[in-house]
C-alpha cells in the first residue's frame, strides 16, 4: 500500500464536457420525475388509487421531509429492524455474564439499580426482561394533591402547553394537527346522558336488547334537545354531531377485566365534575376549559412502564400501525410531524374536567406497546401491518379515505362508566424492546 501510494503517478485531466452535460441532463430528468410523482401523490390523496390490473393499490409508505439523515432513515426497513432487535434481546444471556452486563448497561444509560424491585440481577434472563423491570414499592410516591396531573412515566419533558386552533406544537415553529395525532375526535359514544344510560343498562337484563338500545338513544336525544348543546368544542371538534348516533360496530375488548377498586375511585372523582357534564359537551361559562398537551420522552435507561396521570375512564383505543422512527430529541427537532408518523396507541376517554387522551408512541428500539387491560392489542406485528394494508385496500374499494387506525371500545369493561376505569398512579402498561 505504501509503495502504491508513493509510486502511483497522479494525472489530472479535465472532465469531458459531454459527460458533464449528460450528468446534468440525467439529474434534471430525475428531478422532473420526482416532482411529477409528488404532484400525483397530492392529487390522489383523497381518491382511490388503482394499479394496472384495476385493483386498489396498497397504502403508500409516507416519506417524510427533512435533512439527509432523515431521508436515509426513511429508506430503512425500520419495523423489521425493530422486530429483529426485539428477538435479539430475548436471547438468554449466560448466567455469569448477566450481572456485569446489566451493570454495564446501567452505567451507560444511567439506571438506578437501587430502585429495581429485584436485587438479584441474575433473575433477569435477558436484556428485554431487565428493560421491562418493575420498581420497589414506594420509590415513586404520588403527589398528595388530588388536583394534580401526575407524570405518567420517568422521562424528560420535551414540550408542553395549550393547543391552539387544533394544532400541537412539536418543537418551536413545527406543529401538527390534533386530528393527525389522535384521529378525528368526534364522539363515537352512546351519547350524553351517561348516568341515565348507565341506570337504564343496570335495569335492563344482561342480554343486549334492541329495545334497551332504543331507550338509551331516546334519552340521548332528549338530553341534547333540553340542553341545546351544539356538540362542538372550539379547536377540537370540527365536524357536526353524527345524526346516526349508533354504538361503535368495532369488536369490544372481551379480555378486559373491570377493577372494582379503581372503578369506585374513578366514579367518586367523576362525580365531582361540574353537573356530571359529559366530556365532549361544552363547559359552562363559569369554568371555561381549554386543551393542554405534554410530551414526555423516555430515555433507554428509564423505567419503561407507564402509569395513569389522573383518575379517568378509557372509552376506546385507536391503534395506528405507522412507522417506527427513533423519537430521540434530535429527530423530534428535525422531523416534522414525527408523532403522527410513528406507530402509536391512542387511548381516548374522559376525566373530571372533560376530554382526556393518552398516547404512547413507539420507537425503533421500543416498538412494542403493551396495554395491561387490552390483551387483544398487538403492536409492531406483521399481522397488524397486513391487516392495516387490507383495511386500506377495502376502504379504497369502497371509495373512502382510509382512517389510518383500528379502533376498539372498552364499553363492556364497566356498564356504569362505559369504559375501563383507571385511578391515578395505576400502572397502565409499558414499552418493550422490539
Amino acid at each position: 500500500l505504501n509503495s502504491a501510494l508513493k509510486n502511483t503517478k497522479i494525472k489530472w485531466e479535465p472532465i469531458p464536457i459531454a459527460l458533464g452535460v449528460g450528468f446534468l441532463g440525467v439529474w434534471q430528468l430525475y428531478r422532473i420525475q420526482r416532482r411529477e410523482k409528488h404532484t400525483q401523490r397530492e392529487a390522489d390523496k383523497d381518491e382511490v388509487v388503482l394499479d394496472q390490473q384495476g385493483r386498489p393499490k396498497k397504502r403508500e409508505k409516507i416519506r417524510p421531509s427533512g435533512p439527509w439523515t432523515v431521508q436515509i432513515m426513511s429508506t430503512l426497513p425500520l419495523k423489521a429492524l425493530s422486530r429483529l432487535w426485539g428477538r435479539f434481546n430475548e436471547l438468554d444471556i449466560p448466567y455469569y455474564l448477566r450481572v456485569p452486563g446489566f451493570k454495564l448497561y446501567s452505567f451507560i444509560f444511567g439506571v438506578n439499580l437501587s430502585e429495581v424491585s429485584e436485587p438479584d440481577l441474575h433473575v433477569y434472563p435477558n436484556l428485554a426482561a431487565f428493560f421491562y423491570r418493575t420498581l420497589k414499592p414506594g420509590v415513586r410516591p404520588l403527589d398528595p394533591n388530588p388536583n394534580a396531573v401526575l407524570s405518567p412515566a420517568d422521562g424528560k419533558v420535551i414540550q408542553f402547553g395549550t393547543i391552539e386552533h387544533g394544532e400541537v406544537e412539536q418543537v418551536k415553529g413545527v406543529t401538527y394537527s390534533l386530528d393527525a395525532l389522535l384521529g378525528s375526535i368526534r364522539p363515537t359514544y352512546k351519547g350524553p346522558a351517561i348516568e341515565a344510560a348507565a341506570d337504564a343498562r343496570e335495569q335492563a337484563s344482561d342480554k343486549h336488547t334492541k329495545a334497551g338500545e332504543e331507550d338509551i338513544m331516546r334519552a340521548d336525544e332528549e338530553f341534547a334537545q333540553v340542553n341545546g348543546i351544539s356538540y362542538t368544542l372550539p379547536n377540537l371538534f370540527s365536524g357536526p354531531w353524527p345524526k346516526d348516533n349508533k354504538p361503535s360496530e368495532m369488536p369490544s375488548d372481551q379480555a378486559t377485566k373491570p377493577q372494582p377498586s379503581s372503578e369506585a375511585e374513578v366514579r367518586a372523582d367523576l362525580a365531582l365534575s361540574e353537573a356530571k357534564r359529559p366530556w365532549w359537551a361544552p363547559a359552562s361559562a363559569q369554568t371555561p376549559t381549554t386543551l393542554y398537551y405534554c410530551v414526555i420522552y423516555l430515555a433507554p435507561g428509564d423505567y419503561h412502564r407507564f402509569h395513569s396521570p389522573v383518575s379517568w375512564v378509557v372509552e376506546s383505543r385507536r391503534h395506528f400501525a405507522g412507522e417506527l422512527y427513533s423519537v430521540s430529541p434530535y429527530l423530534q427537532r428535525t422531523m416534522p410531524g414525527l408523532f403522527t408518523l410513528n406507530e402509536r396507541v391512542v387511548l381516548l376517554g374522559r376525566w373530571r374536567w372533560g376530554f382526556f387522551s393518552y398516547t404512547p408512541v413507539g420507537a425503533t428500539n421500543v416498538g412494542s406497546i403493551k396495554i395491561n387491560f387490552d390483551r387483544e392489542l398487538r403492536t409492531n406485528s406483521l399481522t397488524t401491518d397486513t391487516a392495516a394494508d387490507r383495511a386500506a385496500e377495502e376502504a379504497a374499494a369502497r371509495g373512502e379515505p382510509y382512517s389510518g387506525f383500528a379502533e376498539a371500545t372498552y364499553e363492556n369493561a364497566s356498564r356504569v362508566l362505559g369504559g375501563h376505569a383507571l385511578k391515578r398512579g395505576e400502572e397502565m402498561g409499558g414499552f418493550q424492546l422490539g
Binding site: R140, P141, L142, D143, N145, N147, A148, V149, L150, S151, P152, A153, D154, G155, K156, V157, I158, F160, T162, V168, L181, L233, W279, A283, Q286, T287, P288, T289, T290, L291, Y292, Y293, C294, V295, I296, Y297, L298, Y303, H304, F306, H307, P309, V310, V327, F339, W351, W353, G354, F355, F356, S357, Y358, T359, P360, V361, G362, A363, V366, G425, F431
Partner: protein
C-alpha cells in the same frame, strides 16, 4: 419512546379590574414543569 398527553382542563377566569386583575388568569390549570425537566412517575406536571 414517548408519551403524549392531550387533555381538557379549566383555563381559569380573568378577575375584574376591581379584583386586582393584572393580566393573569385566576384559577384553572397551572403547569409545574419546564422544558427539559426530568420527571418521575407520580410527580405533578401541573395542578387544576
Amino acid at each position: 419512546s414517548t408519551i403524549v398527553l392531550v387533555f381538557e382542563a379549566p383555563k381559569g377566569v380573568r378577575p375584574s379590574l376591581d379584583e386586582g386583575y393584572k393580566g393573569e388568569r385566576k384559577g384553572g390549570f397551572r403547569w409545574k414543569i419546564h422544558q427539559g425537566k426530568k420527571v418521575k412517575v407520580g410527580e405533578a406536571l401541573g395542578y387544576v
